[in-house]
């Protein structure tokens, strides 16, 4: 294992732990995107560029976008419920 591989493995472990320990959903989404990016670098360093590319588009684009949209929808419903009361 090269030094680069060891470093990126540690970064992935750290950012994954950070995602799990974050409580605020909005911050968690941003961290998930960073974690996804770290995973993409990991796949690239381990000579899987195809998987890395999939990871970038799914982990850093599609997934955070969908979670953010869902969060917005939930907030809107919550504020509407407050208005109704």
């Amino acid at each position: 294992m090269t030094a680069l591989q060891a470093v990126i493995l540690i970064i992935v472990a750290a950012s994954g732990t950070a995602v799990a320990l974050t409580r605020d959903p909005t911050r968690q989404v941003i961290l998930t995107g960073l974690f996804g990016l770290a995973l993409a670098v990991l796949f690239f360093v381990f000579q899987a560029p195809d998987v890395a590319l999939s990871q970038i588009v799914v982990g850093s684009v599609a997934l955070p976008a969908m979670v953010l949209l869902t969060l917005r929808e939930l907030r809107r419903r919550a504020s509407e419920r407050e208005d109704a009361e």
Binding site: M1, P49, D50, A52, L53, S54, I56, V57, V58, V61, A62, A65, M66, L69, T70, R72, E73, R76, R77, E80, R81, A84
Partner: protein, 251 residues
């Protein structure tokens, strides 16, 4: 369930999981020593057999093209299901007359951000088309490039805080893209039967390995998957955005 019972259940499950994991990891080959026969074989025969220089794409769209069709239709079905659900909720709501106005498209976001968003749409689309069409040569292909294409719309929606441009919505461009992509895969597959071979066999001319138009059905299938993925992801995001703009849905 009481707290103590929950903790006890967790401890039992954790011990079992740890035992299975340790047992499984102990049986793995050493780091950097890959034993897969298929992988080594494909590494050697793909360029000669399929004239595709990216083995992964050749595997996805040729050697196991049927699995990819299944994956494509998972995305197709889930996006159609989501769109039907969201539109039904909106239709219920829009029967109330006081919602006729709706929210305006541009709700006062930073104009500079909106400008950057609009200007980045074309470069993102060029990148997406590149990734889709060069899948047989370099890492990439329909799935990755399709999401890149869809991210052009995501960027536009996030930076302008608005809705999908009216021209795209009115003409059903995203629905068409998704449908043509999903149907195209099956059409290319069936065309293999008419060419006297099997479903999804590579019946097109293979061309020169390394050229843009090479690898026969690999590039064709990758391109239609690109259309399908771009349409599906963009449609999901556009529906969510539309949903957020319609007042009072789901309350």
């Amino acid at each position: 369930m009481r707290r103590r019972a929950r903790t006890a259940l967790f401890l039992v499950a954790a011990v079992v999981l740890a035992a299975v994991l340790v047992d499984g990891l102990a049986g793995l080959p050493a780091f950097g020593h890959f034993h897969g026969v298929d992988g080594r074989t494909l590494d050697h025969v793909t360029v000669r057999q399929r004239h595709a220089t990216d083995v992964v794409t050749a595997v996805n769209f040729d050697y196991r093209g049927l699995d990819t069709m299944g994956e494509e239709f998972i995305l197709f079905a889930s996006s159609v299901g989501l769109v039907v659900l969201l539109r039904e909720q909106r239709a219920d709501r829009q029967q109330c007359p006081d919602d006729a106005g709706g929210a305006s498209g541009d709700d006062g976001r930073d104009p500079l951000l909106a400008l950057v968003g609009r200007w980045s749409v074309a470069p993102i689309i060029v990148l997406g088309v590149y990734v889709v069409t060069h899948g047989q040569l370099t890492p990439g292909g329909g799935f990755q490039g399709g999401v890149v294409l869809a991210s052009a719309l995501i960027t536009l929606l996030i930076t302008t805080g608005g809705r999908t441009p009216r021209t795209i919505r009115r003409h059903g461009a995203l629905e068409a893209l998704e449908g043509i992509g999903a149907g195209g895969y099956v059409v290319i597959g069936v065309a293999g039967i008419f060419a006297g071979l099997q479903f999804l066999s590579n019946f097109l001319p293979l061309g020169t390995a390394g050229a843009l138009f090479s690898s026969g059905t690999v590039i064709s299938l990758s391109t239609v998957v690109g259309l399908e993925v771009a349409g599906a992801i963009a449609l999901i995001v556009a529906e969510f955005a539309e949903h957020g703009q319609t007042p009072g849905v789901g309350s």
